[in-house]
């Protein structure tokens, strides 16, 4: 079994290398030159990051007590987070309605196949193209971004969700079916609660994805931090671009920590009581004071 697995992985890796060579036109030297060009570009144009993006803008005048909130970095990031949050929630609602209809273990092929085709159609247009379409229809601004990412989220999250449902243990579904529960009751009372850990993980991943993707759709004028990144790129202000990229990276890490915390409520790991740093420190102090009193 192990040998077969290694052979399959080896064959796939060789195939990938052959395709890469084909795509590169056999010119492997480009990789070496490209790397040295990147080092020069990074050290001369991007480093050090220009943190002035976190300073208040000169116009309009900042009236807030916290000047940081008037900075390009803060305004862009908050707008991106707003777009990502709204589109993730709207997309999740759309996906959770459609995915139980697309799962083959919950519906007949007459329902699941058309819903799968619909989700594939929505997903096959990248969010950038959706953004372009909505910019044409309703104009520049964050609303186009919200609608674009909502549609993409429905397609993407819908696929993740129905594949999760199809991969679940069949026991609870069979018990529900034998009991005479309706398909709707099985989906809402059995399938969704049973997969809550995965659904939550996918939801937060999608939010993180939408935050990162907010930078891309800004390019077509759909708002968010991407709008400012595009402007800095136009004027070759790469240090500022790098500072904003670091800001996005920090936000992504924070979202990952929130995901870890949120999922601990619905997985076994959360049931294990682990010592916190606070407990460890207090215990040490307690033990020390007990030892002192004994002396």
């Amino acid at each position: 079994m192990k040998i077969r697995l290694f052979v399959i992985i080896g064959a796939l890796s060789l195939l990938a290398l052959a395709l890469l060579s084909d795509l590169a036109g056999g010119d492997w030297g480009r990789f070496g030159d490209g790397l040295s060009d990147f080092v020069v570009f990074f050290t001369e144009s991007m480093w050090p990051p220009d943190w002035s993006v976190l300073e208040p803008r000169t116009y309009p005048e900042c009236e807030s007590r916290f000047e940081f909130t008037c900075s390009i970095g803060y305004i862009g990031m908050v707008e991106t987070l707003k777009i990502a949050f709204v589109s993730t929630i709207l997309g999740f609602l759309g996906a959770i309605l459609l995915s139980p209809l697309a799962a083959r273990n919950l519906q007949s092929v007459w329902i699941s196949i058309p819903v799968r085709i619909l989700l594939a159609a929505v997903r096959s247009l990248p969010s950038l193209i959706w953004a372009l379409l909505f910019v044409v229809v309703i104009g520049l601004g964050p609303l186009s971004g919200v609608l674009a990412m909502s549609f993409y989220t429905i397609g993407y999250l819908g696929k993740l969700q129905y594949e999760t449902f199809e991969g679940m243990n069949s026991g609870p579904i069979e018990a529900g079916r034998a009991m005479g529960l309706s398909s709707r009751a099985i989906a809402t009372n059995i399938v969704i609660p049973e997969n809550s850990n995965h659904l939550l993980s996918q939801l937060i991943f999608m939010f993180e994805y939408n935050v990162r993707h907010g930078t891309v759709i800004g390019i077509v004028g759909a708002g968010g931090i991407g709008y400012y990144i595009t402007n800095y790129l136009k004027f070759f202000q790469y240090e500022k671009v790098f500072a904003l990229l670091i800001l996005i990276f920090v936000v992504v890490i924070i979202i990952d920590l929130i995901s870890l915390f949120a999922r601990s409520f619905v997985n076994e790991q959360g049931d294990v009581r682990r010592p916190t740093w606070m407990n460890l420190l207090l215990k040490k102090t307690e033990e020390k004071s007990q030892a002192d009193s004994l002396k």
């Binding site: 026991g171 018990a175 034998a178 009991m179 005479g180 009751a185 009372n189 059995i190 609660p193 809550s196």
Partner: protein
Amino acid sequence: MKTELLSLSDLVIGYDEPLSDPISLTVGPGEIVVILGPSGIGKTTLLRTVANLVMPLGGRSELHVEPAGGLGYIPQNLGLVRHATVAHNVALGAGVRMKWSFGMYAERRERVMKALSAVGMDHKASEPVRRLSGGQKRRVATARTLAQRPQLILADEFLSELDDINATGVMEAVFPLLAKGCSLIMVEHHEEHALKYATRVWELNDGRFSDLTVEAWKKRRMEGETE
């Protein structure tokens, strides 16, 4: 109106190959049937075929129970929603035969707590199922079926993982339902446990199916041992 709850006519069970000769029988109200036989012989397949979860290779299996909630099913892996609470799981059973009304939620809650206290699990109502032991999960699955109040229960090894006291407790919790005409068909490896309550034994062995009374089964067993 038919009095039997289940009728099998020339039923051939199996996935690709037949696992038994054709089975024809009926099950009436208030019966306790134990399916016995060595591991892998097709006991679970028979139960799943009766529950209409597996297509038979031949013949017919007909359930004469209400389509919504008339059949209670406790699979081998119990089929509980692990990330939901004990009360949520039992409420699934309680709600299946209920028609919507303003008082439905209070009635369902009452039914859930009654079923849980019958199996001694009422103190765990708000606990997620994943935190329970194997025996406790079996009692929750039984409570789900009790709250459902079905006409026929199909249970796959629902007394295993339970100690003698709890196994007796679970069976005693099911008795009021049986007294009202519900029947129980169970697959059980612990013969002495199951035979204490059984009124009928279905034996699967080497592809042969036998429908026997408990006494007849015991007699056949003794004869087999003396040979």
